[in-house]
């Protein structure tokens, strides 16, 4: 934007300024897309996630047997059938279509990821910004010491402990994961913000009398966004894994609801003979997490500083 403006003679009108801004925005978008798409795997990730999202949203119209996933359904005549053209992933021990249930299972996993991140990111980012901006103060010490406590225990164990004292269901498992996940964002943003606070643009804003909230949210925050977005995409994968793990041990989505982890756990009893009951939901978790990871790597490439 800057170099183009220099070439123009005299002052520029609002009209021209608007056009220049639009052009530069388009150029930035184009450059971002170029960087993202340079690695074909990023595209694979994006397409995978898109397909899974569409499948999950339109599950009732896509899957052959929606009732098997949404209603208490049994069909003992067709129980434990291996994969076939009629039941792509076979049927489970009470005759439900594993394929239909797996597609519905995506709904729980994606909901889990989205809600946990929506709860966790604003809180974690806010605390990280405050602690980083007031680095060295008591606020900093207080926030970061609490963060240290949560980071001292492996996330899965703390989530297990919290989920264990509550009634087991999806909402409580999301709550448990959220309670232990915010410190990771606090620590990330703390590092970024404490590096930014000594930059000239922050001192300039301070000198010109900008309010603290302006400095935090309009000056520092925009400069920390790209690592946050990258982390969010990668974290979708981790949250989904933790959610599936909680379901696997019976503290998440409750049967007969088709949580992916729940299905793996209930199918594990029938290994090795009816391997399809737990194998396909297990692979579905892998594909979903893989998609979010590839997407996250693509975002990281996109946000990476200009390489020469």
């Amino acid at each position: 934007m800057a170099e183009q403006a220099v070439d123009l003679p005299g002052t520029i009108t609002d009209e021209e300024l608007k056009r220049l801004r639009r052009d530069s925005r388009r150029e930035n978008l184009g450059r971002a897309w170029y960087k993202f798409s340079r690695n074909p795997l990023s595209i694979v990730g994006a397409v995978t996630i898109l397909i899974i999202l569409l499948l999950a949203i339109f599950a009732p119209y896509v899957v052959p047997y929606p009732d098997h996933a949404t209603k208490p359904f049994t069909d003992f005549a067709n129980a434990s059938l291996p994969p076939s053209s009629e039941y792509y992933f076979g049927t489970d021990e009470i005759g439900r279509d594993v394929f239909s249930r797996t597609i519905y299972g995506f709904r729980f996993s994606i909901t889990m990821g989205l809600i946990v991140l929506t709860l966790v990111v604003p809180v974690g980012v806010f605390l990280g910004l405050v602690a980083g901006y007031y680095q060295g103060s008591r606020v900093d010490t207080f926030i970061m010491r609490i963060t240290d406590i949560f980071l001292a225990v492996p996330p899965l164990i703390l989530a297990l402990a919290i989920a264990s004292v509550l009634e087991p269901n999806l909402t409580h498992s999301m709550l448990a994961v959220s309670l232990m996940w915010w410190p990771w964002y606090t620590r990330l943003v703390y590092g970024l913000a404490s590096a930014q606070r000594n930059e000239f643009y922050v001192s300039s804003a301070e000198i010109t009398g900008a309010s603290t909230s302006h400095i935090l949210f309009r000056e520092i925050l925009p400069n920390t966004l790209s690592p946050i977005f990258t982390k969010m995409s990668l974290d979708m994968g981790w949250v989904i894994i933790i959610g599936a793990s909680l379901s696997f041990v019976g503290l998440g989505v409750q049967p007969p609801k088709p949580g992916l982890g729940t299905m793996v756990a209930s199918g594990a009893k029938f290994l090795p003979d009816q391997w399809w009951i737990s194998l396909f939901p297990a692979l579905a978790i892998v594909v979903l997490v893989l998609g979010f990871n590839l997407l996250g790597d693509g975002l990281r490439d996109m946000f990476a500083a200009e390489e020469v």
């Binding site: 010491r145 899965l156 402990a161 990871n293």
Partner: protein
């Protein structure tokens, strides 16, 4: 900076983290609905028994006082009685923890050995077929939950190929060695029972592999990245130009500085191993702490839950201090700075 002040400062810091953790655990345990005294004696006990027990357990005191009593007991290693086993929780932990530790350590050895090996192999053949295979495999390793690996391995190596046992730590027909360390591999050796030793290693391999896959993949990626970065450094070219043998260049000039990043996340790997063991031990019916903790969680056995989390927190913190010391030794530039500078 000297080792001793560093370690003592880290330990000092760790005390605060542990105090905080104990508060969090205490709160979790007390937030739970239900009367711990009632739970302890069962639903059919008389009310006056429960009342007396409440008095004895200090449950009528305000929360901070309860916490002080709880902490004082915990510091003496008294975590109360487990509702599941009806024994002292400390006793239970002493029995079950070695099995988990053995599994996690064994998987750490696999992680470090294979992870570094694969990463080095990958960096050595950069952008060739081997490299690409390793990269794809390690990507899959990172995105696959350990319980999925456990099921895949159980199915493939346990049932289909029938190469490994699928349950427990020792076969039925082996004589159990007297418990000395609690590590089955060491105890069998101490008992001089060589077949049992091999049998216990045989039992360890599948669950340890399932646990190791994720961190191993991570290690391979990091080793590859730092080795290929260091490969283009001037001092490598200088070493070669001076005619230093290639093997020495690889081992002393390349591997050592490249391992710093790898080792610094080994602590995290160990923690991940201990927590993922919660799922893997369930699948392989491994009689460890995680399985004990899992049972406690499912039955809301608060004393046991608190103790398990606290023990794991302590292990995690100690391991991280050890890792920092090792990293400081490997890289004199890093020095042993305070915990916050990471």
């Amino acid at each position: 900076m000297k080792l001793l002040p560093f370690v003592s400062r880290r330990l000092f810091h760790a005390i605060f983290v542990l105090l905080g953790l104990s508060m969090v655990i205490f709160l979790i345990a007390r937030v739970m609905p239900g009367d711990p005294a009632r739970v302890a004696v069962g639903a059919r006990a008389e009310d006056w028994v429960v009342d007396n027990l409440r008095e004895q357990m200090h449950l009528n005191e305000p929360l901070p006082v309860q916490y002080a009593y709880w902490l004082a007991d915990a510091l003496q290693g008294d975590f109360g009685i487990s509702l599941v086993t009806r024994r002292g929780v400390a006793e239970d932990i002493k029995e079950f923890f070695p099995a988990s530790l053995e599994l996690a350590l064994f998987s750490l050895v696999i992680t470090a050995g294979l992870g570094i090996g694969l990463g080095a192999l990958s960096a050595h053949h950069k952008d060739k077929l081997v490299d690409n295979v390793v990269r794809v495999v390690s990507y899959m390793g990172v995105v696959t939950p350990s319980f999925v690996f456990a099921i895949l391995f159980l199915l493939l190596f346990g049932f289909v190929l029938d190469l490994f046992p699928t349950i427990g730590r020792l076969s039925e027909d082996m004589t159990r060695p007297p418990t000395v360390t609690g590590f089955m591999t060491i105890d069998t050796l101490l008992a001089g029972d060589i077949p049992a030793f091999f049998d216990s290693v045989h039992h360890l391999i599948l669950p340890a592999m399932a646990l190791a896959m994720g961190s191993m993949a991570q290690e391979a990626r990091i080793t590859r990245a730092s080795m290929s970065e260091n490969l283009s450094k001037d001092y490598i070219a200088a070493g070669r130009a001076f005619g230093v043998p290639e093997s020495k260049v690889t081992r002393s000039f390349l591997l050592k500085p490249s391992l710093i990043a790898t080792i610094s996340i080994l602590g995290l790997d160990f923690a991940a191993g201990l927590s993922n063991a919660f799922l893997v031990e369930l699948i392989f019916v491994w009689p460890g702490l995680s399985r004990y903790g899992m049972n406690a969680i499912l039955r809301k056995d608060l004393n046991a839950i608190s103790a398990v989390i606290l023990v794991l927190g302590v292990v995690f913190i100690v391991v991280n201090i050890i890792v920092d010391v090792i990293v400081g030794r490997l890289d004199p530039r890093i020095g042993l700075r305070s915990a916050r500078s990471d």
